[in-house]
């Protein structure tokens, strides 16, 4: 079976609310596909439809060409983490994994393997109800890995993780994809996925707004702008202006350059012996582009903060 998720024309209404409005995209093996959108955009509903937990009014969601409900051993095809809090709080983390493993004819050896992968060895005998959200996320990931599936789907797995956990999660997702698995991860923050995802599906109001590789999205958003960090800002500006660049200063040692590629920027600075600390694509533009793309799709927005007014 091919390790793919194909979502085509999904439509789902909850009373007066149209949650999904023709959602269409694909998740491919060997890459991390980020599923990004503001709260209420339809991320969780799409994932629930993929797992057959909600029935779509129209459209299909297929795992390797088949509906999830028809898979004989679902944990071996698709591992999922939708809600890290969905566990019996008084059961130990190990026993939580053990009964799931037993339901698929898997033994305790497999439980020990996934516990090690998720980094939960020291806490595995503790009651799962006492876990922090970050640890519950790790437990949910261990459960998703039990069947060693070629497809993994996780809803907001970064939630509740500390900075070390977020760095671990990014590397972990990339490692899973490098093994040839299809990894599908949702988030409402582009910054969480920027360094982890290869491909992004951006949604709003139940529709796909953008579906492109991170590289293409950065290129389009940054408009080929280059970020230069240098202590010798005025010398750099003179040299780059001669090379045909246009520049904007955004900090004491930061320049945003347009009209000159990263390679040509480095070459011009090196040739004129202007020291610099960093030259990179203007990545901040990706977050800006995401905000721009989803501006009209934000469902809940607070009033602008007013100084002196208590919340």
């Amino acid at each position: 079976m091919e390790a793919t998720i194909d979502v085509t024309g999904l439509r789902k209404r909850f009373g007066p609310t149209l949650a999904l409005d023709g959602m269409t995209f694909s998740v491919r093996p060997g890459q991390v596909t980020g599923f990004v959108g503001p709260n209420g955009a339809g991320k969780s509903t799409t994932m629930r439809v993929i797992l057959g937990l909600d029935a779509a009014d129209e459209g299909t969601a297929l795992i390797g060409g088949r509906p999830y409900q028809t898979l004989r051993h679902p944990l071996s095809h698709l591992g999922s983490l939708l809600d890290a809090a969905a566990l019996q709080p008084s059961r130990s983390a190990r026993n939580h994994l053990l009964w799931l493993a037993h339901s698929q004819g898997l033994g305790s050896g497999r439980v020990d393997e996934v516990v090690a992968v998720a980094g939960l060895q020291s806490a595995i005998r503790r009651r799962a109800g006492g876990f922090s959200l970050g640890m519950r996320q790790r437990l949910g990931i261990a459960a998703a890995l039990l069947g060693d599936p070629p497809i993994l789907m996780m809803d907001e797995p970064f939630n509740g993780m500390d900075p070390e956990g977020i760095v671990w999660m990014r590397g972990f997702l990339r490692a899973l994809a490098a093994e040839g698995r299809a990894v599908f991860v949702s988030s409402h923050l582009m910054s969480e996925l920027e360094d982890a995802a290869d491909h992004l599906v951006v949604i709003g109001h139940g529709q796909v707004i953008a579906d492109a590789s991170v590289r293409d999205m950065i290129a389009a958003a940054s408009d080929d702008r280059v970020e230069l960090r240098t202590a010798a800002r005025s010398e750099a500006m003179t040299v780059l202006a001669h090379a045909g660049a246009r520049m904007a200063t955004t900090g004491p040692d930061l320049l945003i350059i347009s009209g000159l590629s990263t390679a040509r920027t480095v070459a011009a600075l090196t040739e004129s012996r202007v020291p610099f600390a960093e030259v990179s694509a203007h990545r901040a533009a990706l977050e800006e582009a995401y905000m721009e793309l989803t501006r009209d799709a934000v469902e809940f927005r607070a009033a602008p903060a007013t100084p002196g007014v208590a919340p």
């Binding site: 390790a3 051993h73 944990l75 008084s90 026993n95 053990l98 037993h102 698929q104 070629p150 040839g180």
Partner: protein
């Protein structure tokens, strides 16, 4: 587009059936502390 080598699991193949279901339910039953099973907080 680069070709991707599909992931091949090295784990033992999953099985299902009444025996596995019973085993899972038995594990669930045994792994809840008695006070919790009686509804005592």
């Amino acid at each position: 587009m680069t070709a991707v080598t599909p992931y091949r699991s090295t784990a033992r193949e999953a099985r299902d059936g009444f025996g596995q279901l019973l085993h899972a339910e038995w594990t669930k039953l045994l792994s809840i502390p008695a006070t919790c099973a009686r509804g005592v907080p």
